[in-house]
Amino acid sequence: MLDSLQPLVFGMLALIIFISAAFITFSRNLIYSAFALLGSFTGVAGLFAMLGADFLAVVQLLVYIGGIMVLYLFAVLMTSGIGDVRLTNRSIAVKIALPLALVLFFSLGKLIFETEWFAQQTVKIAPTTAAIGDLLLTKYLLPFELVSVLLLSTLIGSVALARQELRNSKENHD
């Protein structure tokens, strides 16, 4: 029952992701693009859920939609006049790009269908949170810690970039 439904669910999710991605790319209005991103993120969360990765699906929703999306929207809305910017997206010669994209699309598609993938046959629907927690503190401890160092440094770096901006504008006010 579930197995037969799966392709249908997958197709719908993929369609959502694809359409929103296209919208992000081709829309000339940043706010529209930002909202379209919402659809894309949701679709990915759906994919995770479908594959039984419940924790990741929720994290995807919380972090990407709840955090990153909102941040994006704030940034777009708070930056004055950004909606008026006519994006001069100098299109790459369509005559070359389109065939290239099509060739890539079809050859990768062919590849995906023809390859003998190493795949787990059955998807167990069970809570994964505990297992992920376990792995993060055992096998994947090092990547986990490194990510935290990376995030810390990036945080400091972004503060640096932003702070100088503030300092400058304050000087201007003075």
Partner: protein, 651 residues
């Protein structure tokens, strides 16, 4: 590290003075003479002291060579070359000559080069020369020796062309460099040949070109062949080609007389005492290899004897004080090679040492004369300088007697040993040639002495006003060298005169010395000794009769023998012959083919202009790609990935 310091100290001097010279030239400042002197003379002197401290045990009889492996130099697969130094009796003798005579000549140069604008540069070059020469001598392997070999060639070039604003002098430098290069090819080929022979069976970690290693592998080298010829013969012939270049033997001697374009102390140090003897040293160092190649030894002996005679004949008619000495050097080097050729390596090295003393003394004396004469080098415009230059003339006389081979001065012993060995080895013809050369030597040297220092003065009034004895630092060097050239011969006092022939036993070179010629014909040796002294005395007498009163008489007689005189004045037309059969064909070939076609058409039009056009076309293409738009960049990234994928998947 002690041995390394002997090399490093002059190098340090070269770096400091070189940097000082460069920064002074660029900023147009004056050279700080005091510092240059301190560094340029002080460091070689310290090197001399170290050399002495290291050498004394060997002089006192130590036999085991002192080895210092500095570092592993080149490691490529199983080819392994270590930069190592080795001090044994032979190299002790050499480094003492190099640093000792070198220091004296540096000291002398302070006076000689006093007013030269390139003062610091001069000392930098001279120190660099010492470094290279010491590397050459101390090297424990052929490749490091070659490094020094090339280094001395470079310094020689730089110093011959020291006054490069004068076109002739710059040309002389180039000539020396190019002729030496011909010899170097021989040396290099010999190294390659040895590598080809030894590399296949090399044991792990052995330094392949190490002299000791080569010697231990002689059993492997001796029976082998290169191109169907016995490899020791091929290798030694190639090495000898290198030696003829560096040590100015027939046919590559032509650069040495021209090398006199350099400052006189340079002629003394490089073109008389040290560098030109590198070939002799190399043969002595590789005595085991040359012993295995009797055919080569014969070639060396013949070339040596011919050079000795040939050059001494040319020297007879030269009128430039330095040219006479230059040909004399060529001739004396011929003696050394004659010694090498008859297997009397120790005597060749002995003559090398005595020659270093007396020839350096002669050159420095001539430098003192030139200095006093404000640059005049023509002996026809000298005469009667004895009064003005008492010390110079005295030392010059001592050195002249020495080179003429009168007992008990040094060259008598060293030269006589060589002649005796030549005779006792059965090379009677070569012995006669050597004897004739000895006659010539005594004659032209005394001709030089009489014309310069005695008789009526032919000095121009202008020059007469400046005539002065040289300052102390110059005369000091002269006196030391004169004393050395007078007494150094006793190191090799022959057994027949009641001596011990110390130098031969001490150096202990070659297979011949091990055998100890027991069949010594003492009577014959004494007779020959008498003959050569008599020959020298005759020559001196002849020179005295002819030249004591200056030039008028001899010039008349020279006119009577016009053809021979012309032949000699023109140095047997060797330069002209080389010009006709080598230089001109090459030049016309390069003019007609290489310049007109290869250079103008192929390189200039096709490569240079063509590549320029292609480049600018390519540049415009690529700069269209590199246009600063990052979305384009991303596109090209993807394109490149796709292209690679495409090519690969198709394959």
């Amino acid at each position: 590290m002690t041995l390394a310091w002997i090399i490093l100290l002059p190098l340090l001097g070269a770096i400091i003075n070189g940097y000082h010279a460069m920064s002074c030239t660029l900023r147009k400042q004056k050279v700080i003479t005091g510092m240059v002197n301190f560094v340029g003379v002080g460091l070689p002197f310290i090197a001399f002291l170290i050399a002495l401290s290291q050498g004394i045990p060997f002089i006192l009889g130590a036999e085991e060579p002192l080895r210092e492996t500095l570092f592993s130099w080149i490691t490529v697969g199983n080819l392994h070359i270590e930069a190592g130094l080795c001090l044994d009796r032979l190299s002790t003798l050499m480094i003492l000559i190099i640093t000792g005579v070198g220091t004296l000549i540096h000291l002398y140069s302070i006076g000689y080069m006093k007013c030269d604008p390139g003062y610091a540069k001069y000392f930098a070059y001279l120190n660099l020369f010492l470094t290279s020469m010491l590397i050459l001598v101390l090297a424990d392997n052929l490749v490091l020796m070659f490094l020094g070999w090339e280094g001395v060639g470079l310094c020689s070039y730089l110093l011959i062309g020291f006054w490069f604003e004068d076109k002739a002098k710059a040309q002389a430098g180039k000539k020396a460099f190019i002729v030496n290069r011909i010899g170097d090819v021989g040396f290099l080929l010999a190294i390659f040949g040895l590598g080809v022979l030894l590399l296949p069976g090399i044991s792990e970690g052995a330094s392949i070109f190490n002299f000791e290693y080569i010697e231990s592998k002689m059993s492997l080298i001796a029976p082998s062949t290169i191109f169907w010829m016995s490899s020791p013969i091929i290798l030694t012939l190639l090495l000898f080609v290198g030696a003829t270049g560096k040590s100015a033997q027939i046919p590559l001697y032509v650069w040495l007389p021209d090398a006199m374009a350099g400052p006189t102390p340079v002629s003394a140090l490089i073109h008389a005492a040290t560098m030109v003897t590198a070939g002799v040293y190399m043969i002595a160092r590789l005595d085991f290899l040359f012993d295995a190649a009797p055919a080569t030894l014969n070639v060396i002996a013949i070339i040596g004897a011919s050079t000795a005679l040939f050059a001494s004949l040319i020297a007879i008619v030269q009128n430039d004080i330095k040219k006479v000495l230059a040909y004399s050097t060529v001739s004396q080097l011929g003696y050394m090679f004659l010694a090498m050729g008859v297997g009397a390596y120790a005597y060749g090295v002995f003559h090398l040492m005595t020659h270093a003393f007396f020839k350096a003394c002669l050159f420095l004396g001539s430098g003192s004369v030139i200095h006093a004469m404000s640059g005049e080098q023509d002996i026809r415009k000298m005469g009667g300088l004895k009064k003005a230059l008492p010390i110079t003339s005295m030392t010059f006389l001592i050195a002249t007697i020495t080179i003429a081979g009168l007992p008990p001065f040094a060259a008598f012993f060293s030269k006589d040993h060589i002649l005796w060995k030549t005779y006792s080895h059965g090379h009677t013809v070569l012995w006669v040639m050597g004897l004739l050369a000895a006659f010539g030597t005594a004659f032209y040297m005394f001709r030089l002495y009489f014309l310069t220092f005695t008789g009526k003065s032919r000095v121009s009034e202008e020059a007469k006003a400046h005539l002065h004895e040289s300052p102390f630092n110059m005369t000091f060097a002269l006196v030391v060298l004169a004393v050395l050239s007078a007494v150094a011969g006793f190191l090799g006092l022959p057994e027949v005169l009641g001596g011990h022939d110390w130098i031969k036993h001490w150096l202990n070179l070659g297979a011949g010395s091990a055998k100890a010629h027991s069949a010594h014909d003492h009577a014959m040796e004494l007779i020959l000794m008498g003959v050569s002294v008599a020959v020298a005395a005759c020559a001196i007498l002849l020179a005295f009769l002819l030249y004591r009163n200056g030039l008028e008489g001899p010039e008349r007689r020279a006119r009577a023998m016009q053809p021979i005189h012309n032949l000699l004045t023109n140095k047997f037309y060797v330069d002209e012959i080389y010009d006709a059969i080598i230089v001109r064909p090459i030049r016309s070939l390069s003019q007609s083919v290489f310049f007109r076609v290869v250079d103008q058409k192929l390189i200039n039009e096709v490569f240079v202009n063509g590549s320029g056009k292609v480049l600018s076309w390519l540049g415009s293409c690529v700069s269209r790609i590199q246009n600063g738009f990052v979305n384009r960049y991303a596109f090209y990234f993807l394109l490149a990935v796709s292209v690679f994928l495409g090519i690969w998947v198709i394959n």
